[in-house]
């Protein structure tokens, strides 16, 4: 793995995407320095998740570019972008229901597993060793987020908070340079939110990856982010230090205008 000073540098420039006549994202630029925690906030429907989908290749932007570590990823396939080192979690948790908790995390190593088709169908020693190693690594990630001992459980049988953690462990397991978290604290109760903030801090200290997250909970936003970007109607409304952004009158207006 490279340890150059640009590791985890994510830059999106002039992203545009329209669905028919609706401009979901319009000329949105942002950047995250290596090891930085960046928050993207904005009213509902502002296009935050669309930005994530543009970065991860779910949609190709109409205009604009996404660059990670100096490599332009615009127009790449979604799985290729993931392998380049961008992991993500989803707003509505998307775990693999056909697999147990451990296997969910193991899917992260599977695209790289060093054995071929024939070792797989014959269960040759190379395959078994590689799978054992992958399981071991997956267990470590489960341990990290506090899911040790639940390896055999079905993901859908876990309580909501643990499902969020499992999704996080799964994203961590691809060893991303940048990890995108889409409303990671949604649906968590206040004590779970505090626990979650601590967890993200701990993981960030340990792996020092770049984190970009979308969140509505101010507690999370203010506690975690080094830098904030505010989206409204697909456009960048404001950006900068969290405290400064919070006091920005335009931002306050966008939020209050949205609330009943």
């Amino acid at each position: 793995m490279t340890t150059s000073s640009t590791r985890g540098l994510l830059q999106a420039t002039g992203l545009c995407l329209a669905f028919g006549g609706v401009k979901a994202v319009e000329d949105f630029s942002f950047d995250a320095k290596p090891g930085e925690i960046v928050g993207i906030i904005g009213p509902n429907g502002a296009g935050k998740t669309t930005v994530f989908n543009l970065i991860t290749g779910v949609y190709a932007p109409d205009k604009g570019s996404v660059v990670l570590d100096g490599i332009e990823l615009t127009g790449w396939r979604q799985d290729a972008i993931a392998r380049q080192g961008i992991g993500r979690t989803f707003q509505n948790i998307r775990l693999f229901k056909g697999l147990n908790v451990l296997e969910n995390v193991m899917t992260a190593s599977d695209p790289y597993a060093p054995y071929n088709f024939f070792s797989a169908i014959l269960a040759l020693p190379a395959k078994r060793a590689a799978d054992r190693q992958a399981a071991q690594k997956a267990r470590e990630y489960l341990d990290l987020v506090g899911l040790a001992g639940m390896e055999d459980a079905r993901p859908e049988s876990l309580p909501y908070g643990l499902q969020r953690k499992l999704e996080l462990a799964r994203a961590l397991a691809i060893q991303p340079k940048v990890i995108l978290l889409d409303e990671p604290a949604a649906g968590l109760n206040p004590s779970e939110v505090r626990e979650f903030i601590d967890l993200v801090r701990r993981l960030h200290e340990r792996f020092n990856f770049t984190i970009v997250f979308i969140e509505h909970r101010m507690e999370v936003v203010m506690n975690l982010s080094h830098k904030l970007f505010v989206l409204s109607f697909g456009k960048l409304l404001a950006s900068g230090e969290p405290e400064a952004v919070r006091r920005n009158p335009e931002v306050i207006e966008a939020y209050i205008g949205e609330e009943e």
Partner: protein
């Protein structure tokens, strides 16, 4: 005795065919309504090679499976990119096309009259060994990185891609492997029944295999196999009810689908019996 012997043999061959359907439907979540056509390819290619060139059985069995796999590549390459419902249409059309070709190239295949004079090379012991071997291969496949990636993309393609899984490639590899296995079932059938006719391979066979997979449990290879045994021998066991047996068969299938929507076995696999048991702690609030 001969009668039971032949039911067992045909059940074994069906089990192998169902393994192919299980892989395509159970692992990658696609519906193949043309799976039986791969059986036709395997059967016809191997039988014709023996009849025209007198090649030995082990060789033609290999070539037959490979031919089915190659056909799978032809169908799979364009279809894995399609949405699930279109895949059913394409495989259905492909299956019927294969039957048409077999029917209309009478000089080569004997057309609708069938291909006769295939030597008998397959008996019950060989079928049993084949079932065990194929089952081993498919079970290992399911339990490997391939199986995991397939199951992942079956529940959520978008999330699978976000984990770096090459969804189209996984679908294609699985489809090819399934085609080869199904082709092998075709080889066994050809050299057991000594007679081939195109009509045997139409979409109703593919649909029957799909029913078998769903009744057994789409998540369970064990379920698919048990249900293959039950549903293949059931029409025979119901023979006393002659005219009613299809109806009874349908009712049994409907009851199972209604009351156990995940199939008889859900996602239970027999391998769990000998995997060491660890306390499962999930589900605590």
């Amino acid at each position: 005795m001969d009668y039971i012997y032949s039911i067992l043999t045909l059940t074994g061959i069906t089990m192998i065919g169902v393994m192919g359907t299980y892989m395509v439907t159970g692992l990658t979540g696609q519906f193949s309504f043309g799976q039986a056509a791969f059986m036709a390819v395997g059967g016809y290619v191997s039988a014709m090679l023996t009849l025209k060139f007198g090649l030995p059985f082990p060789l033609v069995a290999l070539v037959g499976s490979a031919a089915a796999m190659l056909t799978g590549l032809l169908v799979g390459m364009p279809t894995v990119r399609l949405r699930r419902d279109y895949i059913s249409l394409v495989t259905f059309g492909f299956g019927e096309a294969i039957i048409s070709v077999l029917n209309n190239s009478a000089q080569l295949t004997g057309g609708a009259e069938g291909l006769v004079g295939i030597p008998k090379r397959v008996d019950l012991p060989l079928v049993i060994v084949s079932v065990v071997c194929c089952l081993f291969l498919v079970a290992c496949y399911k339990n490997s990185k391939y199986g995991r990636q397939c199951l992942a993309l079956r529940t959520d393609e978008l999330a699978a891609r976000s984990m770096g899984i090459d969804v189209n490639r996984m679908k294609l590899v699985t489809f090819l492997f399934a085609s080869a296995i199904t082709g092998y079932a075709g080889v066994l059938y050809a050299f057991y029944s000594q007679y081939l006719e195109p009509g045997y391979y139409n979409w109703t066979v593919s649909a029957e295999w799909l029913i078998i997979v769903f009744v057994g449990g789409i998540n369970s290879l064990t379920g698919a196999m048990v249900s293959a045994v039950i549903l293949t021998s059931l029409p025979e066991l119901l023979r006393f009810a002659s005219a009613w047996r299809i109806l009874i068969y349908c009712i049994i299938v409907l009851l199972i689908i209604n009351f156990r929507p995940n199939g008889i076995f859900g996602d239970w696999e027999i391998s769990r019996l000998w995997k060491k048991r660890k306390p499962v702690q999930g589900g605590l609030p």
